[in-house]
Symmetry: C2
Subunit: 249 residues, 2 copies
């Protein structure tokens, strides 16, 4: 798994940190990154604060192969992301002629200064638009940073638009097996299995199901055969306790 | 709002970054922090990687008044949080006698080394347990860091157990008003309102409702009267466009 490209997601928005809004983008991006062979290493939720956005973006883009931001690219005063990205890269911000032309055609005499803000992106020959049929206002790419909308339907569509640009490693595969056992009863056996298969990451997730203890074991890695071996050994552990292991879809 | 205590949430868990699991703690904590007058400034989702946990924890505890971690305090090999917190603080890890006694009584001959791991917390006279009736294994507090379970029902209960220990400032209040208008049509008016009421943070959140454009405006601050004034001025903007503004519950 060493050497696979890495990624960080920056969720920009007071609405997440205030408890108003449940984030609905991270899980989608995370699952897609796994399929694409990019290792999502971190996600950060930060406020609509220019200094924080610039500092966090610069730290993330230096550390990870790819950075995806969501939120803050609309027409209102609290949409600060594009200007902050330009500042972080030391670029000027321009009104992208192609987007202005498209908005002029679409909005007619309802085009105004606020909407033209949605055509503003950092300057540079390496900057490209991230288009989506879900909105007239594009996201954009600058170097290893992709800047997307926050509205989930648009953010997901923009992710699919940029996905072909990501250079992934081996896809991260996973499987699971669960049973009505308590974690503490299989922990020692799990440790032994983890030591036997170091290239597979084994996660143990307890929950309550129908009023009883349930443990779900997830095995992740790039080798389907190794994952299957891990899950079969885990299932044996569970059966030895009298449980009936099964996989969740 | 200056001077109010701040907080950061660290969500520790490969299961969030792999796309397997939807986080179900951040929104709860965020809403409660707002009520308690603590400003949640950041949330970070990080993997089950000791070096990353230690580095991130040390950065967060130096920067924010309070840090809350979730995840990684169970009995299995992938539960690394308590050991990492001890390392970050340069403390030894000990088996807390009170927790060991309680587990001995509860588990009887099913008590094993894995379960005893759940009694391990950093050493020090300032370290205290965070108890919850939802589980026999406690969270703990060390200095300004609270270490909680990841399972949402337990995490939420532990948050309520620690909440009385938080020194908050003025509660962050909020209200909202929405209508079937497009953000771009009210953006200029919103900017003017934001400039008139700098102590109120005004957020604009577009969505599709019943196939049409909807914009919800959220006003947040510590002064209920100011918030009400902002929302009334926003409602006037919306009515001027022929829309019928209303609040979401």
């Amino acid at each position: 798994m060493a050497g696979a490209p890495t990624a960080c997601v920056l969720i920009i928005g007071d609405e997440i940190l205030s408890g108003r809004t449940q984030d609905a983008n991270l899980k989608y991006f995370a699952a897609r990154f796994a399929e694409l062979g990019v290792r999502l290493k971190e996600a950060r939720v930060i406020p609509d604060d220019p200094d924080v956005i610039v500092e966090t973006l610069n730290a993330a883009r230096a550390r990870y192969s790819y950075v995806i931001t969501t939120g803050g690219i609309g027409p209102t005063h609290d949409d600060l992301t594009a200007a902050c990205i330009a500042r972080a890269f030391g670029r000027k911000i321009i009104r992208h002629p192609e987007v202005v032309a498209r908005m002029t055609a679409y909005f007619g005499d309802r085009l105004n200064e606020a909407r033209l803000k949605m055509a503003e992106i950092p300057d540079g020959p390496d900057v490209s638009l991230v288009e989506s049929e879900t909105t007239i206002a594009p996201g954009f790419r600058i170097e290893n940073v992709f800047v997307l909308a926050g509205v989930p339907s648009i953010a997901h569509a923009m992710f699919e638009a940029l996905a072909p640009q990501l250079k992934g490693g081996a896809p991260m595969l996973s499987g699971n097996v669960g049973a009505n056992v308590r974690e503490g009863d299989i922990a020692a056996g799990l440790t032994a299995i983890q030591e036997k298969y170091p290239a597979v990451a084994i996660g143990s997730y307890p929950s309550m199901r129908n009023g009883g203890f349930h443990t779900s074991i997830v095995a992740r890695g790039t080798d389907r055969v190794e994952i299957a071996k891990v899950l079969e050994e885990v299932a044996s552990l569970m059966r030895a306790l009298g449980a009936s292991p099964a996989s969740d879809p």
